[in-house]
Each structure stands twice: as structure tokens, then as C-alpha cells.
Amino acid sequence: MKKSMLAVTALAAVGLLALAGCGQTGSSGAPAASSTPKAAHHFNIRCWNDEFQGRFRNYSTLWDHTNEDGTDTLKDGTIVNWIIVENKDNKYQNALDTAIQGQDAAAADDKIDMFLVEADYAMKYSQQDIAMDVKADVGLTDSDLAQQYDYTKKILTANGKLKGVSWQAAPGLYAYRTDIADAVLGTHEPDAVQAKISDWTKFNSVAAEMKAKNYYMLAGKDDSYRTYSNNVTHKWVSDEGVCTLDPNIKQWVKDTKSYADNKYLAGTGTDYALWGSAWANEMSKAGSTFGFFWSTWGINFSLQGYADPAKLKKADSSNLWGKYRVCQGPQSYYWGGTWMVGAKGSDDVAIIKQTMLDLTCNGTIMGKITRDTDDYTNNKAAMTAIGNDPTYGSDFLGGQNHVKLFTAAADNIHMDYLSAYDQGCNESFQNAMADYFTKKATYPEAIQNFKTKLKATYSDVTFDATFDAAL
């Protein structure tokens, strides 16, 4: 009798626990459709971080409110479903490729409606059928797209068709600390500093000056990579699948090696690689690095977060808010950028069209984005207006009007030498050269490691003789 009572009590307790999970809040246990009618259909967006999420929520004219489970509801009741997969190690591309393969067979609510691509793999997806033609399929007109910078359109043009649009242009710049500039160069005015680092020779001599006063010119070995890699004259991998080493990339290896040997870098190890923990620390008050190569998205998306880890959003003795300025740097370049691509098979072309119009063609909205976030948006008229506005200044950059600096530079960006293999090549090359900079491997050995890693990332790539030449 006692045993059966115990068993019954135990069963009841387990049953109560199970029932407690299905409360009426319906947040995690119950399906998302519990708060809205099941008939409301889904708009699926694939991306790799929350940058676009922020833009969409704050600036899209269709957005109504965010739901508890992280999805958003639009004014017509459609539910926006965010599928976020991080970029590292090709994870985002792998997930996207799998989803694209299943696009035809998927149910209408599960099909991808829109996905984002980065400059590194823009070419790969623009050539695929899944990418909708922005003019013919989505319905944007030439006059809508007129104010966009040419390179943002060219990069996603395949076979004469424009396949995606971006809300941002990403000209590159050099962000430096005013306190270190004052201590070593005697001034922190952007024009004066730019005069001192306007080409690589001058940049390297300032690096020596920094070292003499125990500061570092750059934080890690990957910092200057984009500046070199965006001024190449060859694609990483040709159309026949032959991988070649551009002379400019080789120059990066030579220059960074001399920086590493002379100790102009805060560190050469993996912790000082791009996105490493010690590298991020260098951007905060605890670091002693003079400056960083960032593009415009990097200022608001990355540098702000690292310089002001407590997110106070105002100058304080514990952070570097207001203590960074930007200047052009030794060479003009660009870094990445995000493009929106509509996916064929989507049943919400109207939403795709309106989102693209709002965020990439509407000058008013895009001007507002720049004023709010310091992001450099893809609208020539709006950027020129802000550049000429004497009252505009970025609070984070101590009141500097950085937009003015780049209205000229943005028009000169060329993305002629992109290939579909860029992400893997860039990542593997930087990792392989790390051993050379830390003196763990000789240059030929580092090249061998690069080849090994690349063959494990792309099966159909061969290498030409540029890799065998001495440094």
C-alpha cells in the first residue's frame, strides 16, 4: 500500500512538472503561432549577425513590433523570422547552401525569402539562380537605384543583371587615438595626422616613432591585411580554378614581418589576430596601440563596442568615447559590406521590394541611419548632404564629420578582383602566415600550410608558381 502511494505521488509530481512547462505565456515551449493566428505567414531572413536586424527594426517602414520570441511582426501581420548563423569557418555559407538546395521542396512558409551576403562571397551567390534580379524580379527601377554607389551595384551584377543591393558603402580608414597622437606627434587634428601617414613610407617611420615612446602602431598581424588585399591586381582564384599569390599580398607579408620583428605590433600571436580577445582589448583604455584600420561599419559596429565596453555611450574616464578620430590612412581601400538578396521562390516579393526601397534607395531614411549610427549609407545625395553639413559630427569620434572624408573616397572604390573563393583564401592565408610572423615556420613552410588548408576547404583549386617564389 505504502509503495503504491509513493508511486502515485511520484507520478503526480512528474505530471505537474510537465504541465508547468506548458504555461499560457507560450514563450519557448509552445509554437510561435500561439500569440498570433496560425494563418499569418512567415518571412524568413538569413544573416550572420544582428547588424541588419537592428537596421530593419529601427528604419523599415513595414516593421510594427518585435515579438517575445525574437521574431518581428510587420504591419500587415507577417511574421519576420530571423535565421542567424555565424560567419566563422564558413558556417553561414554552409547553412545557406543547404537551405538553397532545399528551397524548391520547402513549404511556402519555410522557404528563404531574403538572405544577406558579404563582399567575400558576394560573387558566389550573385551567379546562382536563387538570387532574384533586383530590377526584373523584384521591381526596382533605375531611378530608385540611381543614388547608390557604383561599386555596390557592380559587385552583385552577374551576367548583366543586378542581384542584390546594400544599405552601406564601406570605405576604409585609419582610426587613431588622440591621446597617443598628442603624446608622440604633438597634434591630433585629422588633417595633420593624415599628412604624417599619407603613404606607407611615412606610415612606417611614424611606427618607429611610436615604438620609441613605447606605443604600438598596430595591434596585430591581421590589422593591415585588408588595405593590401583590396588593392590587388589579380583574383585570388582565377576562373579556371588556379590560385595565385598577388604581389600586393606578398608585400603585406613582408611589411608585417618587419613590423613583427621590430615590435611595432602589440602582439603577433593568435590572441592578437582579428577578433581575438587581446586584440579587442587593445582598442579599449587598457591598450597602447595608436590606431586601427577599420571601414565605416567597423566604427559603429566594432570600435565603439571595444572602446566603450560598459556601453555608457558618453565620455568617461574609464573608456575612450570621443578619443578616437579617423583619417584616410596610407592607402585607400574598402572592407566588406553587406548586401540583401531576394530568394527566388519567395511568396513575399512585395515585402522584399519595400525593404530594399526603404533601406537602400530612400535618401531620407538612409540619411537618418547615418546620423543615428555613424554608418556610411549607400546614397550619394544623402552622404554629400551630411558631409557638407557643418552641424553634423559623430559623438563617438569627438564631433568629427567622418562622412565628409569619404564622400570622395567612396566613389573611387573598385571591386574588380573578387572571386568566389575569397573568404576561405583570406582566412587560410592570414592563419598560415601567423606561424611565419611568430617565427614558428619559414616562409615556404607557411605557404605549404596555406596550401594544405586551402585544399581542405576547396577541393578543386590548383596552385601556380607564384607561391614558390621567394619572399
Binding site: 569557418d89 582564384v237 590572441d271 578543386d460
Partner: protein
């Protein structure tokens, strides 16, 4: 015979229902284990990969032994490291290099693991030591096994980073004079991976060895004590030989697990493979083939090659450790080795030799 048949007919048989309940297992086994296994073998002989340039899959087309040939001929001249020093460089196929990395990391973790586990097993089962809180210690020892290897890897990555706690402690103790990057040293990256493996598995090994020690008949220990055997002698003469079967089991399962080492190595090196690819394990290479290159042909071939290598290593360990089953031979060998006449033989050792042979161990 007739009475038997009648008995059989009157017996209610539930065999039918037993088979019905076995169906779920067979369905899932065939669908999720057997079919993928067959497909792996199938793909190994096919050229089948994703071409980034064309944006689509190439194949599957039959290509015979090409994938296997590629695995064994794709290599380079590499340096080999003993601690942080290079001991020379020669050509090796990539798979041999990764296998060497894997086995070195495994040995670096396994040797301390087995020594510590043996010591702990002996101490925890020795009634004379009167250890307190043994239940607490056993639980705590086993707990690292419950943590996911990937979480462990990330934790140690943060602990050992250039500005992390370990470096700061060592600097404040004066052992380090400037920032040291653990992640850039061939030896230290392998050490961290081996350390994580050690922490995760030594509890498990200790419990297994404890059960082995507790399975030895108490009377043998008592007779050894009566004969005046010291603890040290008891261990080497009695406990260790009788633990041989459990020891072999631990060795083989740890070897198989060590060859499959992936998640810890991947997380600690953040997918990079360590300096000079010295911590890139075979399974990391397989992961890259499947997830990055999407080269299912080569991945299948690599899986089959690893299967045969693992089987060969396990078999060799097994056969080296199993000797002839003839107990008298062990006794005779013992006598020949140490004594001229039978009456000089230590009776305890003779008894041990006989028992250990019955249990399949090596003679003393």
C-alpha cells in the same frame, strides 16, 4: 518424443511479441547506422564534391581507388617536433602527419591519466588507508566527464589566453617575465588539449580500475600480507597482473577515443590546427573535408582508412597482451626464470602465475 511435443504445444509462447518489440531497434539501426555506413563505403569510390567556382556539386561519378590514392600521396615535407624543438623534416602523407599529431596528443594525455588513475584506484580500494570522504572525491573526480568537450575547450582557451588568468598568475609568481602566448607554442597547445582529455577521462578510468581491483579475491591479498609482502611488491606482483584485462579494455577504448579526438582540438585551436598544423587531428581533417570542402568522396575514403587503422592498432594491442592459455606453462616459466628447484619456488608467486593464466594475463 511425444510427451515433449505435447508439453511444447501447451506452453504459451510470447516469442511473437518479443520480435515485435525488437522492430523499432532494427528500423532505427538500419536507417541511421547501416545505411549511412553503406553510403560511406559507396561514396569512397565516387568523385563527389562541391565546386565553389561552379556553385554546384560535381558527381557522384565512379572513380575507383582515386580517393584512396589521393589520401596516401597527398603530402609535404614537414618538420617534426619534440617539445618545441624541431628534430628534422621529411616527407609524409598528410594523413600520416595528422595521425602522428593525434597519437602524440593522445599519449600525452593517456600516460599521466593511467598512472594517476591506477594510483587513485589502489588508494581508494585499500581499506587499510582509511581515506575519508571517498564518496565525495569519487563524485568530484567523475564530474569533468559530464562537461561537454567543446565547453571545456573554450574555457581553457580563455584561461590560457595571452592576457588570461594563467599568464597573470605565472607573471605574478615570477615564473614568466613577459606575456607568453600559449597558443603559439607547438608543445603547449598539445599540452592543453592533453590536459583537457586527462581531466575529462581520469575519473572514468579510476572507477573502472577500482572495479577491477575490487574484483580480485581478498584472500590473495591476505596471503600476500601473511607472506610479508610490502605494498609496493603487492602492487607489482599481484594487483597489476590481475588488472591486465581491465587495463587492456581501458587502453583500447582510450585509443579508439583518442584517434577520434576532434572537438577539444578544434575548440582550443579555434579551427586553426595550432602552430604549423601540429594539433590538427585526423578527425579535424575529416570535418574540414565534409563541412568546408564538401568533398564526400575523399571523406568516405578517409573514414574507411581510419577504420582499418583503428582496427589494426586495437588488434595489435590485443594480441600483444594475450599469451597462451596454458597455466602450467606460466608456472614452468616462472620456475625456470628464478629458481633451480621446485621447492625453492615462492608458493604465492606460483599460485599467482596459475591464476593469472587462468584469467588470461601474462605470466610473471
Amino acid at each position: 518424443m511425444k510427451p515433449l511435443l505435447r508439453r511444447h504445444k501447451n506452453h504459451i509462447s510470447y516469442n511473437f511479441w518479443g520480435l515485435i518489440f525488437l522492430i523499432p531497434f532494427f528500423v532505427i539501426f538500419i536507417w541511421l547506422q547501416l545505411v549511412p555506413l553503406g553510403r560511406t563505403f559507396y561514396y569512397a569510390f565516387e568523385k563527389y564534391f562541391y565546386s565553389t567556382g561552379k556553385g554546384s556539386f560535381i558527381g557522384p561519378t565512379f572513380c575507383g581507388w582515386d580517393n584512396f590514392a589521393y589520401i596516401f600521396t597527398n603530402g609535404a615535407i614537414r618538420k617534426y617536433y619534440f617539445f618545441d624543438q624541431s628534430i628534422g623534416s621529411w616527407w609524409m602523407p598528410d594523413i600520416a602527419y595528422y595521425l602522428a599529431n593525434t597519437l602524440i596528443i593522445w599519449l600525452m594525455g593517456f600516460i599521466p591519466q593511467i598512472i594517476v588513475s591506477l594510483a587513485l584506484a589502489i588508494w581508494f580500494t585499500d581499506a587499510r588507508l582509511k581515506l575519508k570522504f571517498t564518496r565525495f572525491w569519487k563524485t568530484v573526480m567523475y564530474m569533468p566527464n559530464l562537461i561537454m568537450a567543446a565547453a571545456f575547450g573554450m574555457l581553457f582557451l580563455m584561461l590560457f589566453s595571452s592576457d588570461g588568468p594563467v599568464v597573470q598568475i605565472l607573471m605574478s609568481m615570477g615564473i614568466l617575465h613577459e606575456q607568453f602566448s600559449f597558443g603559439d607554442s607547438e608543445f603547449w597547445v598539445r599540452f592543453i588539449i592533453a590536459l583537457i582529455n586527462f581531466l575529462m577521462w581520469f575519473g572514468n578510468t579510476t572507477l573502472l580500475l577500482m572495479s577491477g581491483v575490487m574484483g580480485i579475491d581478498e584472500s590473495i591479498f591476505e596471503s600476500a600480507v601473511v607472506d610479508g609482502s610490502s605494498a609496493h611488491h603487492t602492487f607489482w606482483a599481484i594487483t597489476f597482473p590481475l588488472l591486465k584485462p581491465i587495463f587492456i579494455y581501458v587502453f583500447i577504448t582510450s585509443l579508439i577515443g583518442g584517434i577520434q579526438l576532434f572537438d577539444v582540438a578544434w575548440m582550443v585551436t579555434r579551427g586553426g590546427g595550432g602552430p604549423n598544423l601540429t594539433s590538427l587531428t585526423v578527425m579535424s581533417y575529416l570535418y574540414m573535408l565534409i563541412n568546408k570542402a564538401k568533398n564526400y568522396g575523399q571523406a568516405g575514403a578517409l573514414s574507411i582508412v581510419m577504420f582499418f587503422i583503428t582496427a589494426a592498432l586495437s588488434m595489435s594491442v590485443f594480441y600483444v597482451s594475450i599469451s597462451q592459455k596454458n597455466p602450467e606453462k606460466g608456472v614452468a616459466r616462472e620456475r625456470r626464470k628464478r629458481f633451480r628447484t621446485y621447492k625453492d619456488c615462492d608458493p604465492t608467486r606460483l599460485e599467482m602465475a596459475r591464476i593469472s593464466h587462468q584469467q588470461g594475463g601474462i605470466s610473471l
